[in-house]
């Protein structure tokens, strides 16, 4: 594979990859929002 690294890291012999941290009670509802979402829901 030909790796064309981002101009920011070209020829630096390292590659910096930022990853997102997603929070939620399920993959479907996960988001970047780290605030506690607490809800007491009487059915």
């Amino acid at each position: 594979a030909s790796i064309a690294s981002p101009s920011s890291a070209t020829n630096k012999d390292y590659i910096k990859v930022n990853f997102q941290k997603k929070y939620g009670n399920s993959f479907e509802s996960a988001s970047n929002d780290t605030k506690d979402k607490t809800r007491l829901v009487a059915r």
């Binding site: 012999d13 910096k16 941290k21 993959f27 509802s29 007491l40």
Partner: protein, 510 residues
């Protein structure tokens, strides 16, 4: 009036994701970053598990509270998503009890799918792909190649699979060892199929010359941060405190025919606790050597059931059959609290106990201990450990270096990894690695070794709240452990900043 209320657990899950652009024209897909597996795969747009209607998806985030229970225990049913791959051994047991059932449909719009028919550059290599994970999710499909970029890094040429059938909501970017690739150690390989390894993501970076060593540093960042970083080919000395110590990756599957390690397991030589700042409050739970998997694809941590019981007895947690986890009082901010201390071979990493708590929002101040029992005689240290630990995975030398993470943004001091990890020290216990499974014996003294050396562990932990706004409520824990033995003496001082807002420092998966 109908005896129960629905309580949504606080928002504590976390998993690490990156966004890929695949095909021509590019289609965006988000995948989970996973050191516990080694294949890249994305969900195909024709996956029958994808629900056409949103209401089909069953969201297990609501919990039932049994009101007539004096403890008002919040019943929670959630599945721990652990992406360490199931390996072809007779011992492979589902390390996690999963409530996800494959009959559930999933919402595939959340993280995107890849439609091969809409890419003019997709090439299938007509090889079957199949993988199963420790939480009973699976993916199967076909291997192929296409235009591919991650953030703005062009990684075209990297083989990836398109899963036309999967019950996992999100695809996976496995960055583990080549031996863990499903083409080599996958459980689906029929005897006829010849197993082989291929160049996965870290190896593609190395072979293309983008990095000098097949090694990377994982900085998971503080527990409530929005992003972390993986530095491929380098180490950032600004992201850890104290010294980086190096230990070997061990092979727990040699008896299964794997002559080299295929997963990131190292030897844990002792587990203990400390209470507050006092040195005399150090307790050794065990000094039995136990294999530990350092897995970014697992959210909480897992230990053999008997060890979790020892820890629970020590910290006042009790097992709740309702949860299937241990529960305990939530540690209040600034309360003098315990730490869990890991001895990796003469160097110690300690985490606040609150970092291992999952906060429910039941009004009875109940917290789940985010160290869960498992039947495997091994330990998985997941995100709630990695959030406080800087880990360098060196795939070329089959070593792992670790230190306390420093998330106080002290700037970047990047060194290229070329042959070995710069500034890392070989751990004093580097060579005394795990060799065979033993029953876990309680007690011992991990804080000083036996007769032949005067290694002693002195802990001075000062928990002090800092008032500055950016670190409001932060605690500074300085643990200094001093080693002196016949050959050399080295003083390790590691300062760790950990947020007491434990509610966001631990996570659980659906």
């Amino acid at each position: 009036d109908n005896d129960y209320e629905l309580v949504e657990l606080t928002n504590q899950n976390s998993f690490y994701s990156v966004e890929l652009d695949i095909g021509t024209p590019p289609q965006k897909v988000t995948v989970l970053v996973d050191t516990g597996s080694s294949d890249l795969w994305v969900t195909g747009s024709n996956n029958p598990y994808c629900s056409t209607k949103k209401k089909d998806t069953i969201d297990s985030s609501f919990k039932q509270v049994n009101k007539d229970n004096s403890a008002s225990v919040v019943e929670s049913v959630f599945t721990e998503i652990s992406y360490d791959t199931t390996i072809v051994t007779s011992e492979a047991t589902a390390t996690l009890d999963s409530t996800a059932s494959t009959s559930q449909t999933i919402d595939c719009t959340a993280y995107g799918t890849f439609d091969t028919s809409k890419s003019s550059t997709f090439e299938s290599n007509k090889t079957e792909f199949s993988i199963t994970y420790g939480d009973s999710t699976f993916a199967s499909g076909t291997w192929g190649r296409d235009q591919l970029s991650l953030n703005d890094l062009n990684i075209t040429g990297l083989s990836f699979a398109v899963a036309n059938e999967t019950n996992s909501t999100v695809g996976v970017l496995g960055i583990g060892l080549p031996g863990l690739e499903s083409t080599y150690s996958g459980i689906s390989l029929s005897s006829a199929q010849k197993s082989y390894t291929y160049n996965n993501f870290p190896m593609v970076l190395k072979n293309s010359g983008a990095i000098k060593s097949t090694a990377y540093s994982l900085f998971a960042n503080s527990s409530d941060s929005k992003h972390g970083t993986i530095l491929f080919g380098a180490v950032d000395h600004g992201k850890y405190a104290g010294d980086l110590y190096t230990i070997p990756i061990i092979n727990t599957l040699e008896h299964r025919g794997y002559k080299d390690p295929i997963q990131f397991q190292v030897t844990l030589q002792g587990v203990g606790t400390s209470k507050g700042d006092k040195e005399e409050n150090l307790t050794t739970l065990t000094t039995t050597k136990i294999p530990v998997l350092l897995d970014s694809g697992t959210t909480i941590s897992y230990m053999p059931a008997e060890l979790v019981q020892m820890l629970a007895d020590q910290v006042g947690a009790t097992y709740s059959p309702v949860y299937g986890y241990y529960i305990m009082d939530c540690i209040q901010e600034m309360e003098q609290e315990s730490s869990v201390i890991f001895d990796f071979g003469g160097f110690y990493l300690s985490n606040w106990l609150s970092d291992f708590q999952l906060v429910t929002d039941s009004r009875s101040n109940i917290c789940i201990l985010g160290i869960a029992p498992q039947s495997d005689p091994t330990i998985i240290l997941g995100d709630n450990f990695l959030a406080n630990t800087y880990v360098v995975y060196d795939l070329d030398n089959m070593e792992i270096s670790m230190a306390h993470a420093n998330s106080s943004d002290d700037g970047e001091y990047v060194d290229i990894i070329d042959g070995s990890v710069p500034s890392a020290l070989k751990a004093p216990g580097y060579s005394s690695t795990w060799s065979t499974y033993e029953s876990i014996v309680s007690g011992g003294n991990m804080f000083s070794t036996a007769s032949n050396s005067s290694t002693s562990y002195s802990v001075s932990m000062s928990h002090s709240a800092t008032s500055s706004s950016s670190f409001k409520g932060q605690k500074i824990q300085t643990s200094t452990s001093t080693f002196s033995n016949s050959k050399s003496s080295s003083t390790i001082s590691s300062t760790r900043i950990s947020s007491p807002t434990s509610s966001s420092s631990t996570r659980k998966e659906n």
